[in-house]
Each structure stands twice: as C-alpha cells, then as structure tokens.
C-alpha cells in the first residue's frame, strides 16, 4: 500500500514547509523518545512524510533513515504520499462492516478510479480505509477531511462527490469572474 510507482514532486509550499520543519526540529530534544512526536509534527505540516523529511528527522536524532522508516511504516497514521485536497476516509470498523462499509469503499474507488491508499493524479481526492472512527451508531461512516458523514449509502457517495464538483466549478467561475472584473478595472 505504501509503495506508489511514481513519486509526487514537492510543491513550492511543501518545500517552504520543509525549511520551516528544519527550524522546528530544534525545539525537540535528540532523545529517541521524541521520534514519534516529531514525525507527527512533520506530518501535520506536510500532511505526509516525503523522503527528504525522513532524512531531516534521521539526522536530527542521529539515526539511520532506514530506522526512521522502520518506525514510521509500523504505524498506520503515517503516510508516504500526499493526500488529496479531499481526504476520503471510509470507516471499516465492525459496525460499519456489518452495515456494508466495504460497499461504500468500493463505490468511492469506482467513482474516482483509484484504490484505497492512493491519490488521484490531480491531487484532488485520496481514499483511505480507517479502522474505526468511533461513531459506530452512525454506521456506515465516511470522514471527508474533518467532516463525518453518517449513514452513507452508495447513492450518497455520488451525491457527496457531485457536491464537491459543483463547489469546485462554482469557485472556478467566481475566480474567473473576479479575474475578469479586475482586468476590467485596469
């Protein structure tokens, strides 16, 4: 799941965030016990752990990069490729499973043309399966970014994706209008 054939290039913001991280590392001591909090900090800023960040962390703690990888890959929380702008997390806890969570996951996969653990090439969407988000009474549950959607059904999947599309198109239109308006002003 972690290997992805092509490596995503760092965007300009990500490169800038990486510089910031190099500075922020100084706040942490060099004891091994800080490794997981540091990785969490890096992921909070970059939303994933690119190879260059792993190297930074390794040199700060005086560890081999492979050792840092060893720890990072052990835990499900850490990602090694960038998440989409919309992070779709499909809950597959017991209650969600009994209520057909895998059907929901399959629907997202089919609609977006990617598998779980992957990101669409335009970095708009990514799909993950999560063990349990703890809202079992609302099963099946899907979490998109920080919003929890309870009682998801295949038709709701379509509705959600359509909603994002409409929102994006509207934003594009507004941006265009805005840009046009500005050009007219000049």
């Amino acid at each position: 799941m972690h290997e992805q054939s092509k490596e995503f290039e760092l965007t300009a913001e990500e490169a800038a965030a990486l510089d910031e991280i190099a500075g922020a590392l100084g706040r942490f001591g060099q004891e091994r016990g800080n490794l997981i909090p540091i990785l969490q900090m890096v992921q909070e800023r970059l939303s994933y752990l690119p190879p260059r960040a792993i190297e930074l962390v390794a040199s700060h703690l005086g560890m081999a990069p492979c050792e840092v990888y060893g720890v990072a890959t052990f835990y499900n929380q850490f990602r090694f490729h960038p998440p989409g702008r919309y992070r779709i997390k499909v809950c597959l806890g017991t209650a969600c499973h009994v209520k057909g969570g895998d059907i929901i996951l399959e629907n997202f996969e089919r609609k977006l043309g990617i598998r779980d653990g992957e990101t669409t090439p335009d970095r708009e969407f990514s799909i993950e399966r999560v063990a349990c988000v703890g809202c079992c009474a609302l099963a099946p549950v899907t979490v998109i970014n920080e919003t929890v959607h309870g009682h998801t059904a295949p038709s709701k999947v379509e509705g959600l994706l359509l909603g994002f599309q409409i929102e994006r198109e509207r934003k594009e239109r507004e941006d265009k209008k805005h840009a046009d308006g500005e050009s007219q002003d000049h």
Partner: protein
C-alpha cells in the same frame, strides 16, 4: 511518607471548590432559557455544530437572551444531536435528533409560543406531572452510572464544572491519606482492570509501589483500537478530569511523579480536550508541582499514539512511547517491575482510572454493592449494530446480555430476529441466542468463549453472515499483527485465506478441520494478547454456527445472503411495476435495464451487489429479491438496443 501540612491542602481545596460552586450557582441562577448541547464526536458527526450555529442565529435574530452550554456525550448516540432546553415554567426537556431546522422551531414554538413540541421531546430531565420523566424509560432507568455519571452534564473544557459537582474531592482526600490506605481501598473494592483482561487493579498498584526505585510512572491507556468500541473516547471527550483525578490518585498511591496519557491520534477531539484539561488542572494546582500546596508532585503529559492496534498491549505501548516499533516483549519482567525506560510503571485503562475517584470518595463497600462479588462495579459498553437504541451504556456487572440488548437497548429493529452478539472486538467471540442469559462479568464471558474486552459490543440480526464476520476480524488482526511471532504473522494470514476462500464459494471440505488446527497453533504460538486471542472469532463462530460454514463449503450458499460472491439480485417480474424507474436511477453501475414490457431486469455481469435497488424499490412493490447461491436467479435478457 510525609503528608505535608494537612490544613493547607484541605483549605486550598475548599477555596477552589467554593469558587467553583459560586460560579456554578451563578450559571444556574441566570434568568432566561438555557440550552445544553452534546458536542462529543458522535454529536458533531450527527451535525450538532450546525445545530449550534442555527440556535445562536435564531436567538440573535429574535433578540432572545439565552445561555448555551456545550457538554460531552450522554451516551444516547441514536438520538444525537441531543439538546436539553430549560425554559422557565417547564421542567428541563430533552430533545432528540435536533437538526438546525428543529432548533429554530424549538426557539420559535417553545421559547416564544410556549408550545414545547411534545412530538420531538424524548423526556423530561426531572420528575414532574406534565411530561414523562426520562427515568421512566428503560434505556435510562436500567443504567447505573459510576464512570460516566457526569458525562453530558459537565462542560469538558471547564474544570470548575467538575469541581463544583464534587470533582477532585477524592484527590484532596487522597493527598492526606497514606498511600497504603489508598491501595487497600482499591483492593477491598475489588476493582478489576477495565481494559479487557480484568487483572486486579489494587494488586497492580501494590506491585508497583513495592518495586525498587524512586522514579515511577503512571500511564493511562487510551489506545482504544477495538473496532466498534468508543467508551474511552467518550469519557475523555465528556469528562476528562475524572480520568486525570484517577491518575493522580494512582500516582499518589504508588509514588509516581510522572504520568502519561496515551491517546489514539485518531481521536483528535479527545486529544485536544485532555490536553486542555491537563493545563487547567495545572493552573489550579491540582496537577504539577506540589499539588494543592502539599509536597506531592505529579506531571502529566499527553502522548498521541499513531494508529497501531497492537500498542494497546502494554509492553508494545511502552516501546511506542520510547520511539520504537510497537512490538510486545516477553513478560516477566512486568511493566510494574520494569516499564517505561526501565522504571516501574502502572498502566491502567481509562475506565479503570475513572472508577478510582468514586471508590476513594464513597468507599470500597459502596463499590462492592454494585455488580457481582467477583466483578464489582459497573461495565461500560458501546452497544452498536442492529439494535434500536445503540450507544454507550453503563450497567452493573452481572446484568444479562438479554437484559442489555433487549431491555436497555430496545432489541432488534425492523422486526428481525437476533442472531449473535460479538463481544470484546477482535479478541472476543460471537455468542448465539442460547447465551443471552449469560451474566456480563469477566469470568462468565470467558467461560462462554468471548471476553469482556474493553467493552465493544456489536449486535447482529438474522442478516449477518458469521463466516463473513469471522473473516472481517481475521482481516483486522492479520493486518495489525506486528510480525514478531511466526504463528501470529503467518497463521492469521492462512486462516484469513481459508475464510476468504469460503466467502468466495471456493471452500473445501477439509477447510473446517484446518481452521481448527490453525486456530489452536496460533493461540499457543503467540506471545501477546493479540495473537493469543486472534482465533477467538473463528473458534466461537465455528462452534456455535457450524452449519453456516458447512453451507458455504458444501452448497456454496450464504444462508444470510451477505457474501457477495455467493448471492445475486434479481427483479421479480410479477411484482415489478410497469414504468417505475426508482431502481434505475440509484444503481451506481447502470446494471438495471428496461425490458420490452417496460419492467426492469438486472445485468448480472455488471451488478456489484450493493443492494441500493432493494432500498429504492417502493415498499408496495418490493420486487427486488436476493438469492443464494447466485445461479438461482432467473435470467432476464437485456433487450437489443433499438435503432431510432
């Protein structure tokens, strides 16, 4: 051990409590209507934040001065978002499923028009002669709340709420007692670890207190990884201070100065609230250096776990805090002898620690009065799945499964029949109807083949396939196996492959025996609880639902119609209504076509068996049918595309 100046500790706490009570009274005495909205993760997931915005907007629009307090979770997840409305002249009323629209309606009709909208009221919070009291309903009256008593009452972000309602009094008392007395109280209360195994808490504390070395550590294990369990999360989100108070008492008893709350990173709200709680307690001198002015110091830090189920196992948890791969190690030495960084460490579950303040406050005898002699106290379960009233339930130990599922949680919805209940998550087992009269306590459940676990309970109706449920849990444990022990790493994989084969209809006759052999070796050849208990779901379902396994293997049939490779949907042409298009629009893969006489058919090669068409077909037709094995579905040919 020196106990400091008793007068100062007592006085310092009394001052704090006085201040908190004054503030609480002021809140209570504020004139005008008051609202109390549940804002834990489950409430937010049901849209409580939108409800809050709508409520605030409507109140502002209408110029009504009202007080809105946000609290945690009351445990009634089926009715979220929950809103308590106190309107002068009426008893406080509990409204359920308060959507933004309903919130507006309540403001307009109830606050302005004086009509409480009875159809949306769940019950009154106090006994009165106008509206039924919530305690008249079994979902409320059968519960005994010790651990979750203040959940949904106090604001988790406001320490003074908790203090005003009696919080931290136990800590103040503990600071003036001898550590030995505290350990004895917990021993006498018979408190057993709520994390699953039920190890006597007092014994653990005593071992740690006796261990050599001056530096000791107390860890609160909130790495609640069982899918289907969320009691610890709710507790941390609704009343984090009770847990912190329990930790501090434990630290006082064993002589620890350092505490760590290990919370799953998947619970961002819980992480935020417990961190705030620690800061607030430190500010008031209830945690940190010289607590309440005495000479006892206890520093708590919050550590976010990073999503490895095995880290709920104590030795793996310790390694994870040390910045290593979370792999369990041999015991002995036990963590109470050599734990974090080699220091004696007590690791207790959230609910265990939350049980401590009431024990210190009300005494061991009172605690023994609840529950059974061998498992005193209460059990907190998150009951989910096919029940009418899912949610968090706290019941005295010894309550039967039947009473919990049918009396408290309202039984099985949609007139279906009960099939099994899964207790204890991936380590537990599935119990059939015959076991419904088993009392819920540590020993009886183990005897039945399940285990208490941390308290996740999934109820399944007749539509659940036990082979699929076993496959689901093995899929989980197989992915979460840390890979250290060969039997766990490879054995769970093999069991999973056999189960997957069965659900695909490729099971072989010898597979049943093979499963039993594998289950046995995995159990014996694994070091930690994960591997030792991983075969439980298979073993129990194989024992109690063998005929279902046999149907999968011999007849290639899934009796409940869950395994998708073994089922097919078809449309009964005698029932299908001419010209109705309800199912066509909902099919995600366009597998439904119109036949020549304008009825519908399903293209079996395209169908993904999601079941949307069953839900879409109007009840009066009910034309979509499901069969297993799939070859029983009648073949309906797609008509050739007509040239127009």
């Amino acid at each position: 051990m020196p106990t400091g100046n008793p007068k100062t500790i007592d006085q310092a706490f009394k001052d704090l409590r006085e201040e908190a009570r004054t503030r609480w009274e002021e809140l209570r005495q504020t004139p005008g209507p008051k609202f109390r909205l549940g804002l834990a993760t489950c409430g937010i997931a049901s849209g409580a934040l939108n409800t809050k915005v709508a409520l605030e907007e409507t109140l502002a629009e209408r110029g009504i001065m009202a007080q809105i307090r946000t609290v945690g979770c009351m445990g009634h997840c089926y009715a979220e978002p929950l809103l308590v409305v106190e309107n002068p002249g009426f008893p406080p009323l509990l409204y359920h499923q308060v959507s933004p629209g309903k919130a507006k309606m309540i403001v307009r009709s109830f606050l302005e028009g004086g009509d409480p909208l009875f159809e949306h009221v769940l019950g009154a919070m106090e006994e009165n002669d106008m509206i039924p009291w919530i305690m008249d309903f079994p979902r409320f009256s059968n519960e005994v709340r010790v651990i979750t008593a203040l959940c949904g009452v106090v604001d988790p972000e406001e320490i003074s709420d908790y203090i005003a309602l009696g919080g931290y009094a136990a800590l103040a008392r503990a600071l003036e007692s001898e550590p030995e007395d505290l350990i004895r109280a917990v021993e006498e209360a018979g408190l057993r670890g709520r994390g699953g195994a039920g190890f006597p808490t007092g014994k653990k504390w005593r071992l740690c207190a006796q261990a050599a070395g001056k530096r000791k550590v107390v860890i609160c294990n909130a790495d609640e990884g069982d899918p289907g369990a969320y009691m610890d999360r709710t507790l941390l989100e609704s009343n984090p201070h009770q847990v912190l108070e329990g930790m501090a008492i434990c630290a006082r008893a064993v002589g620890a100065r350092r505490g760590i709350v290990y919370v799953r990173a998947e619970y961002p709200l819980a992480v935020r609230l417990i961190t705030t709680a620690v800061q607030q307690a430190e500010k008031l001198g209830l945690l940190g250096e010289s607590i309440l002015g005495g000479d006892f110091s206890f520093h708590v830090q919050v550590f976010r776990g990073s999503g490895a189920f095995v880290c709920g196992e104590e030795t793996a948890l310790l390694r994870s805090i040390e910045g290593k791969r979370g792999m369990p190690r041999h015991r002995p030495p036990f963590p109470v002898q050599e734990g974090l960084e080699g220091l004696p460490t007590v690791i207790n579950n959230v609910k265990t620690l939350a049980s401590v303040p009431p024990i210190v406050e009300k005494g061991p005898k009172w605690f023994r009065g609840v529950g059974t002699p061998r498992s005193p106290g209460t059990a907190v379960f998150s009951v989910v799945g096919d029940v009418v009233h899912p949610g968090l339930v706290e019941i005295p130990m010894g309550t039967t499964l039947r009473s919990l599922i049918f009396d408290v949680c309202g039984g099985i919805p949609r007139r279906k029949s009960f099939k099994a209940v899964q207790i204890g998550g991936p380590s537990g087992g599935c119990l059939p109807e015959d076991f419904l009269d088993t009392p819920i306590d540590f020993d009886s459940l183990v005897e039945a083949g399940a285990m208490m676990g941390s308290g996740g309970m999934v109820v399944m109706d007749e539509d659940a396939c036990m082979v699929d449920v076993a496959r689901y849990f093995l899929d989980f444990t197989q992915k979460e196996s840390c890979g250290k022990c060969t039997f766990c790493r490879i054995g769970t994989r093999q069991i999973l492959e056999i189960l997957e084969r069965m659900t695909r209809g490729e099971g072989r006759e010898e597979d049943l025996g093979l499963l039993e052999t594998l289950a046995d070796v995995v159990r014996r050849g694994s070091l930690c609880g994960l591997g030792k208990t991983a075969p439980n779901p298979v073993l129990t379902s194989l024992r109690y639902f063998r005929e279902e396994y046999e149907a999968h293997v011999r007849e290639k049939r899934c009796p409940s119609g869950t395994c998708r490779a073994l089922t097919a949907f078809y449309i009964d042409l005698d029932l299908c209504a001419r010209g109705c298009d309800a199912c066509v629009g909902c099919c995600p893969v366009e597998a439904i076509f119109t036949t020549l006489n304008r009825k519908k058919g399903i293209d079996q090669t395209l169908c993904v068996k999601c079941g949307e068409c069953v839900a879409a077909c109007p009840e009066e037709y009910n034309a979509v049918k499901k069969v297993s094995p799939p070859h029983l579905a009648p073949i309906v040919e797609r008509p050739p595309v007509q040239e127009t």
